[in-house]
């Protein structure tokens, strides 16, 4: 069920500061990941690396709707959410370098960013497995009478798994303060959504659970911000779970191991024309909020952050071997 478009308020004028903030956030993710891909080929990062490039408007737009008290649950494709949530880039880079200065002490790597101080609960590697966890975070909030939101990010692939269904039902049944954010990038690994779902309208899947849902253009950061804010506010007001589908696309392969044989060049190029950063830069320019110098300044700031992140990661010490068995248990 798509919320009646009629209830949407007219978009307020974009303030310059906020616009630059959003741009900065998106650019940071983009450059961070470009750097990650670069050092991956040098062997500094290993294992799985799933890039978010092309989807930046989703995490950045959505995260504007959350307060520091809210919780975030993400997937293995978690760089965008982590950065937008405010996890410091240098801790994330160090994590991927396998250093003890990383956000998970180098034990998690790219797929498993954690930061409990920012209520960022992973980095969950099994498709759809973050959803049940999110149910519990939200359930605990209801016990403790907190008015906060648990935002759970997942892909179109997760919608196929049974756990998605169990959690949608549970959230609605128990009126849990959960915000479901589905990033529909049209593929689960190499499987196009048409080969995965009998019906591809994901937002429509919320109806049988009685969960209000909306689908928005995930390439437009302001549209994402608006829709997710509306939904998050409703959740925070105690109106139960809400669902937002963000229609997006990943520009890169599924992971560094993926030869990307299942998509055409044309399809990818077509989507690149709707690059969320380009779109937003154009909008800022159009509204007179950004010029070449302004863009260069943001780029320079981001470049400095990334350089610092790499330097920090490089300099970090690995966890001492004698701690190998530590923290399996609390006691």
């Amino acid at each position: 069920m798509t919320r009646a478009a009629a209830t949407r308020k007219k978009r307020p004028a974009l303030e310059r500061e906020h616009g630059l903030h959003l741009l900065h956030e998106m650019l940071r993710i983009r450059r961070f990941e470009e750097k990650a891909a670069e050092v991956y080929s040098l062997g500094k990062i290993r294992g799985f690396l799933h890039l978010y490039i092309g989807e930046e408007a989703c995490a950045v737009g959505a995260m504007q709707a959350l307060t520091p008290d809210d919780a975030v649950v993400a997937t293995y494709r978690d760089h965008g959410q982590a950065l937008a949530r405010g996890l410091p880039p240098h801790e994330l880079m160090a994590e991927m370098y396998g250093k003890a200065t990383g956000c998970s002490r180098g034990r998690g790597g790219s797929m498993h960013f954690f930061d409990v101080s920012r209520r960022f609960y992973g980095g969950n590697g099994v498709v759809a497995a973050g959803l049940p966890l999110a149910m519990g975070l939200a359930l605990a909030d209801t016990y403790q009478r907190y008015k906060r939101v648990t935002a759970c990010f997942f892909g179109d692939g997760a919608v196929v798994e049974g756990e998605f269904h169990e959690c949608m039902n549970l959230a609605s049944l128990w009126h849990l303060p959960v915000l479901f954010v589905c990033e529909n990038n049209l593929y689960g690994m190499g499987t196009a959504i048409e080969k995965a779902l009998a019906r591809t309208d994901i937002a429509a899947k919320a109806a049988p659970y009685g969960i209000p849902a909306e689908a928005v253009d995930g390439m437009q950061v302001l549209a994402v911000e608006e829709a997710v804010t509306r939904a998050a506010d409703a959740v925070r007001r105690g109106e139960g779970p809400h669902f937002v589908e963000l229609k997006t696309y990943r520009f890169r392969a599924h992971s560094m191991a993926d030869p990307d044989l299942y998509r055409t060049k044309e399809e990818i190029e077509g989507w690149r024309e709707r690059d969320p950063i380009d779109l937003f830069v154009a909008l800022l320019r159009e509204q007179g909020l950004l010029d070449d110098a302004g863009l260069a300044e943001v780029e320079a700031q981001v470049a400095a952050e990334i350089d610092e992140a790499v330097a920090f990661a490089d300099a970090g010490e690995p966890e001492p071997l004698e701690d190998l068995l530590k923290d399996v248990y609390t006691t």
Binding site: A71, A100, G102, C103, S104, R105, G106, R107, G108, H112, F114, D115, V116, Y121, G122, N124, G125, V126, A129, L131, P132, L133, A134, M135, G136, L137, A138, L139, A140, D141, Y143, Q144, G162, E163, E166, C167, N169, L170, L173, K326, D327, V328, Y329, T330, T331
Partner: protein, 323 residues
């Protein structure tokens, strides 16, 4: 100290936990108005209301995850999975979330989760309702595993689990729920250590849960022949308390392990392997396992009886040892 059933003893433990700490809640299929599939929760709904005693829908993965998430976020959930047979539906959440999150986040948080489930065979339930899969759980670093034999341990294990900052799984052999006994207990820390349920100098029987009573019966029978069994109840399946086993072996030099699991890869296999590693020089005879036949559990009583470890097979195993 009072006399009650194991079912009541576990309930009593939960009652105390619920009363003592408002972060505790019980969640599971039919724990509320049905009173629990095995009547373990019984009156708790009436006593604590539907928030603290929460009926969960038939979605094992979702509510297991909900337990994990709630444990991370300030609560102390007790999740009841109706039986171990259905727990595979939640196994991903156990293996990949409950057991990994603390370690792979670099120790950022604890997961004070308790999971209880009925296990075991012997009630003519057929192949899909008679599994013993405790060994699979005991394989997983990041969780702890308990299994009560005595009425006293029922209550104490619940309290030990709730007090623990890490995920603790309690495996309750359903055949024991109606057993009567005393609730006077050794105290919470003791449940992590094996208990000697009967002393004897000839052969050590290492076992846990329902098989403890089979071992005690075998001991009774063999005592008549002058063979004295020492019966060790492991209680904790992860971590395993091998010290108590080795101390007994130092006396008896012979061991039989009795385990309702299938033989291959059972808890009994691990105990045998550890005895090999740490008690080899103590042995006068190879360690013997008495386990379930390696078949899906049949419904017919005579077949199920033959498939499960029983007193005769324990006695026969001991007799072969030329004590």
């Amino acid at each position: 100290m009072s006399t009650m059933t194991l079912r009541e003893s576990i309930r009593d433990g939960m009652r105390q936990a619920l009363a003592d700490d408002e972060r505790v809640f019980l969640m599971g299929e039919d724990v509320g108005s049905y009173g629990g599939a095995f009547a373990v929760s019984g009156s708790l709904l009436a006593e604590f209301g539907p928030e603290r005693v929460r009926d969960a829908p038939l979605a094992e993965s979702a509510f297991m995850g909900a337990g994990i998430g709630a444990a991370i976020n300030g609560m102390r959930p007790i999740v009841e999975i109706m039986t171990i047979n259905f727990s595979m539906l939640a196994m991903d959440q156990v293996l990949n979330t409950a057991a990994t999150l603390r370690y792979m986040s670099g120790g950022q948080f604890s997961i004070p989760l308790v999971v209880r489930m009925a296990t075991g065979g012997g009630r003519q339930m057929g192949a899909q309702h008679a599994h013993s899969l405790e060994n699979w759980y005991a394989y997983i670093p990041g969780i702890k595993c308990l299994s009560p034999a005595t009425v006293a341990d029922g209550r104490t294990m619940v309290l030990a689990a709730v007090a623990d900052p890490d995920p603790v799984f309690i495996f309750e052999n359903a055949i024991l729920y109606g057993n009567k006994g005393e609730t006077e207990e050794d105290g919470v820390p003791q449940v992590w250590k094996a208990a000697v349920r009967r002393e004897g100098g000839d052969v050590t029987v290492v076992t846990y849960s329902a098989s403890v009573f089979k071992a005690l019966e075998a001991a009774e029978q063999l005592a008549g022949e002058g063979i004295e069994l020492e019966v060790v109840d492991l209680r904790s399946l992860r971590p395993l308390d091998l010290e108590t086993v080795l101390a007994s072996l130092a006396k008896t030099h012979r061991a039989v392990i009795v385990d309702e699991g299938w033989r291959t890869g059972s808890i009994a296999a691990e105990v045998s392997a550890q005895i090999m590693e740490r008690g080899f020089d103590l042995l006068d005879w190879p360690v013997v396992r008495v386990c379930s036949a390696e078949i899906p559990m049949p419904y017919a009583k005579h077949l199920e009886d033959a498939a499960l470890p029983n007193v005769e097979r324990i006695v026969a195993a001991v007799r072969e040892m030329e004590v």
